[in-house]
Symmetry: C2
Subunit: 504 residues, 2 copies
C-alpha cells in the first residue's frame, strides 16, 4: 500500500468525506432506513460500552445513582418553561395516535379513533418530566440533595445529520440533581464539568478547554451553561459535553419545593449535565489518520489483535495453540484497572485484507504470528499510532503490554494537545481575527485558523460579525486569568478572553 | 411490630394490592405523569443493572455482540409481515409530526406543516427494522451467522398496566440472529432459552419450566416460540422470557438473502429472543413476604446493610470507624465472582424507621452496630430470608459472608421450588381440571390451583373452555416424557402433557 492510504479521500483532500469513510471503514455505524437515525454497529457500540462503563463509575464515585424516566413527555410539560419551549418545540417528534388500522388500500394508517387527547413528545431532554417526578420526591431539606443519572435515547429532529456528530436519535446520559442552595448546585455543576474533562483527557486522550458559554449559547432555560470544547484535526471546535446550572427556573416550572431547616417552603435549585454518542465523533476526529480509525487504548474494544498466519493444516496446528496461549497470557495482564482485551482473527480471508480491516478499525496493537515467528521466538508487533516497534520475545511482549498501552494513550494525548496548541493564538485586532478565519485558498480550506483567544464583551451586536465569518464564541475559559483588554468587535473594555472558532 | 407486618395488606388479604405496596415500600418504581409509563427509581434500577450485567456476560460468552438500532420504524415496514402487523398494529405509539408550534391560545400544537409523509411507529419490537439492516449486512454464507443483541426501550400501548409486569414503555434486551440453515437457527433458539433458564434459576433463584408455546400463543410471525414459565406465590404463572424460531418469515419480508456455499441465492433463517423489566415483577412475586421485598443475593444492589447505632458524639466517634472498617473488610470478599456489596446507612432518622426501610428493600443481611457490640466483640446479623442467626465475631462474619450469601441464594430457590412443586398436579379429567381452577371461596381466591399438567390436543375448540375458566396453556414442557394419553377437553389421543395455569 506504499503511497496509497487505506481511506480515500485523505484528510487534506476532503475532511468531511474522510470522516464518513473512516466511520464506514471501521464498521462503526451506518445510516438506517429512518431519516437521520443511524445504526450503531458492534464495533462502534463496543466503544460506547467502554465510554459508558468508565463514565458510569465516575458518576457513582461522585455519589450519583441511575434511574429511568419515561420516553414520552406530555406536550403541556414543555409549555411550562418559556425558554425551554423556544429551544426544543421546533425539533420534536410528536406522538399523536396509539393504534394503526387498515387504510382500506392494503396498507395502514393511524387510527382516527385512537388519537391522543394530549399529544406526547419523544424526549429531546428530560428536565421537565424528571422535574415533575422530583417535585413528588422532595418534601424537606432532608430529602436533598437528589443526585440522579439516566442512560437513555433522545430525539431531536435534525434537518442536516452526520453520523455520531448530529443524529435525530442519539444515545446519551443526562444527570439531574436537586439541591437546597444555589451554591451547592453550582458546585455540582462545576464538579460534573470536571468529571467530563477528566474523562475526555484521561480516557479519550482528547484535550479539552473547560469554560462557560455566552448567553446566546446557553441551554434553553439554564442560568449558566458550561462546556468542554475540543479541537478536531480540521481545526474546528467540537462541544463535547455540557453542564448546566438551572437556578430555580425548572424548580418553579415543575414546582420542586422543600421545607428548609428553618421551616420555610422554598424552591429548590437544580442542575443537569450530559454527554452523548457525539463523543465518538470527537474521538474519531481527534486521533484518526488517513489509514482510518486510531483508538486510544482505554476505549479500544480490543487492545491487541492477533492474526494467525498459516498455509497448511500442519502449520495451523502449530500456530493456533501458540496464538491461544498468547491471548490467554495477555488477557491475564491488567491495563488501567481492567483485563487486557485481546482477540484472535482466524477468519478464512486474504491476509492483506484482514490486516487492513484491523488497521481501519484502529486496534492499538496488531501481531501477525506465523510458524517462523514461533521457531525464532520473536514477535513483530505493529502499533497503530505509527511508532515503530522492535522485535520482541513473547514473554517480554506480555510483560510490557500495560506499559506500552499506557505510553500509547499518553502519546495520543500529547499529539492532540500539540496540534491544538500550535493552532491556538491570542488575537487583539479585528483585522487579524478576520484573516485568521478566512480560508487561505479554496483547495485547502482547513489549513488556517484554529482557536483564537480574544477579548470581547458578550452582546447581540457582535453576533452579526461572527455569523458573517461563520465563527462562534466557544466559551470563556475557566482557567483564563483576569486581564484588562478591549473587545475586538466593539472597543468596549473587557476583563477576560473568550475562545473563538469555527465549530461542529 | 409483633403481629403486624410491614406491608399492608398481606399476601393472603389482597395479593395484587400487596404487590403494589411491596413495590412502593421497596422504593422500586412509581407511576409517572405519562399514562402506563413508570419511573424506575434508583433501588429498582440497580436491580435492573445487576440483571443486565449478568445476562450481558452470558450473551457475550455465547458469541453475541451488542449493537443499537433506531427507535422508530417506518409504518410500511410493519405491513410486510402479515401476522406481525396483526400482533402489533393495535398497540403502537405513532409519530406523525416533527415540530410543535404555538396554538394561538398560549399553548402548543403539532405543526400542520410538519406532518410526516410516512408515519413512524415507536418500536414495539425490532424484527422489521433490524431485519432490513441485516439484509444489507448479509451477502454470502461467509457473513453468517450474525449474532446481535440490543438493550433498548420499547413501547406497546397497553390499556391495563401494572408496574414492571405490564407497562406501556419497558426496558428489555432483544437478541436477533441470522443463520444459513434452519437447524442452526433452531439450535440458537434453544440455546438462548437455556441461557434464560440458567439466569432465572441461577441468578433470580426463580425455578422455571422450559417449554414450547402453542400456536395461539406464538410471537406474531414466528414458526415456533419457546418460553420459560415461573409460578408466583399466588400460584399464577408468569412468562419470564421468550425465544423465537422465525423460520424464513422475516427473511422473506425483509429480503435477507445470501449466496450459499454451493453458489445459490437463499433466504436466511432468523431468531429473536428477549427478556424485559418484567423479570423484576417475577423476582418480587417469587420471594417477597408480608414485610416487603426479599432479594436473592446475586441481584441485590447491597448484600449487607450496616446500621450504626449511637446517641452521643463520643459513641459516634467509636461506632463509625468500626463500621467503615467492617464495610471495607466485607467489600474485599468475593461472592459469585463479584465484590461483596456493602452500604452503611448513617442518615439521621429514627432507628426503627431506618431498619424497616431496609427490611422492605429486601437487603439480604442487616447488621446494627452499637458501642456495646464493639465492646463485646460480637455482631448480631439479621437475615432477610427469615433464617435466625447466632451472634458472631466480626472476623468470622467477614470470613463466612460469601458462604452465607450462597446459602441464602440456594435457600430462596429451594423454597420457591418447593412451593411450586407442591402446587403442581397431573390432572386427567375435565371435572378435576375445573375443580382445580375454581376458587374455593371468594375471600381467599388464591388458595387453590397452581400448575396442572394435562394431556391436550392443541386446537381452537379447547380455547372456549379455557377462556371460561380464565386458564391458559403456558407451554408444552421440553423435558416432558412422551406418554400416551387422552386430551381432557376433546377426548382425542395425545402424546404429551401441557402445563395449564392462570397467568399474568
Amino acid at each position: 500500500m506504499s503511497g496509497k492510504t487505506a481511506i480515500t479521500p485523505t484528510r487534506s483532500e476532503n475532511y468531511p468525506e474522510w470522516y464518513q469513510q473512516v466511520v464506514k471503514g471501521a464498521d462503526l455505524a451506518e445510516n438506517s432506513d429512518v431519516r437521520g437515525c443511524m445504526v450503531i454497529k458492534p464495533w462502534g457500540y463496543a466503544i460506547w460500552e467502554n465510554i459508558q462503563r468508565q463514565l458510569d463509575a465516575m458518576f457513582k464515585a461522585t455519589g450519583h445513582e441511575n434511574a429511568y424516566f419515561p420516553l414520552f413527555i406530555p406536550m403541556s410539560f414543555l409549555e411550562k418553561e418559556a425558554e425551554h419551549v423556544e429551544g426544543f418545540a421546533k425539533e420534536c417528534a410528536v406522538v399523536t395516535h396509539h393504534r394503526l388500522e387498515p387504510n382500506g388500500k392494503g396498507g395502514l394508517r393511524p387510527a382516527p379513533s385512537a388519537e391522543l387527547e394530549e399529544p406526547l413528545i419523544v424526549r429531546p431532554t428530560s428536565e421537565t418530566i424528571i422535574g415533575a417526578t422530583f417535585a413528588r420526591w422532595v418534601q424537606s431539606y432532608r430529602d436533598l440533595p437528589i443526585l440522579i443519572n439516566q442512560w437513555a435515547n433522545v430525539v431531536r429532529w435534525e434537518l442536516r445529520t452526520r453520523m455520531f456528530l448530529r443524529t435525530t436519535e442519539f444515545l446519551w446520559q443526562e444527570g439531574h440533581t436537586v439541591h437546597a442552595t444555589a451554591e451547592e448546585a453550582q458546585i455540582e455543576t462545576r464538579q460534573m464539568l470536571d468529571v467530563y474533562a477528566e474523562f475526555a483527557e484521561g480516557s479519550m486522550a482528547m484535550p479539552v478547554i473547560k469554560g462557560e458559554k455566552t448567553a446566546g449559547e446557553r441551554f434553553p432555560g439554564a442560568v449558566s451553561t458550561y462546556s468542554i470544547e475540543a479541537m478536531m484535526q480540521d481545526r474546528k471546535a467540537l462541544q463535547a459535553g455540557t453542564s448546566h446550572f438551572l437556578g430555580q427556573n425548572f424548580a418553579k416550572a415543575q414546582e420542586i419545593k422543600f421545607q428548609s431547616e428553618a421551616g420555610q417552603l422554598e424552591y429548590a435549585w437544580t442542575t443537569s449535565w450530559g454527554v452523548s454518542t457525539r463523543l465518538i465523533g470527537g474521538l474519531i476526529m481527534t486521533h484518526s489518520d488517513d489509514d482510518g480509525l486510531v483508538l486510544p487504548p482505554k476505549l479500544a474494544p480490543a487492545h491487541v489483535i492477533i492474526l494467525p498466519i498459516y498455509k497448511t493444516p500442519e502449520e495451523r496446528a502449530k500456530v493456533m495453540p501458540f496464538c491461544e496461549g498468547l491471548k490467554k497470557d495477555l488477557a491475564a495482564q491488567q491495563y488501567a484497572g481492567e483485563a487486557v482485551r485481546v482477540r484472535i482473527d482466524d477468519r478464512d480471508i486474504r491476509g492483506g485484507d484482514k490486516k487492513w480491516q484491523w488497521v481501519k478499525r484502529g486496534v492499538p496493537i496488531r501481531i501477525e504470528v506465523g510458524p517462523r515467528d514461533i521457531d525464532n521466538g520473536t514477535l513483530f508487533p505493529a502499533r497503530r499510532d505509527g511508532v515503530k516497534c522492535e522485535k520482541v520475545a513473547p514473554a517480554e511482549f506480555v510483560a510490557k503490554i500495560a506499559e506500552v498501552l499506557a505510553e500509547m494513550q499518553q502519546g495520543l494525548f500529547d499529539r492532540a494537545a500539540k496540534l491544538r496548541d500550535e493552532a491556538t493564538v491570542k488575537i487583539d485586532s479585528l483585522a487579524e481575527f478576520e484573516k485568521f478565519f478566512t480560508p487561505k485558498n479554496a483547495d485547502n480550506p482547513e489549513i488556517h485558523g484554529g482557536l483564537a483567544y480574544c477579548h470581547f464583551v458578550d452582546s447581540p451586536e457582535i453576533e452579526e460579525k461572527l455569523k458573517e465569518l461563520k465563527v462562534t464564541v466557544r466559551c470563556v475559559p475557566l482557567d483564563g486569568e483576569a486581564e484588562a483588554g478591549t473587545c475586538i468587535f466593539t472597543g468596549k473594555p473587557s476583563t477576560k478572553r473568550g475562545v473563538f472558532a469555527k465549530s461542529y
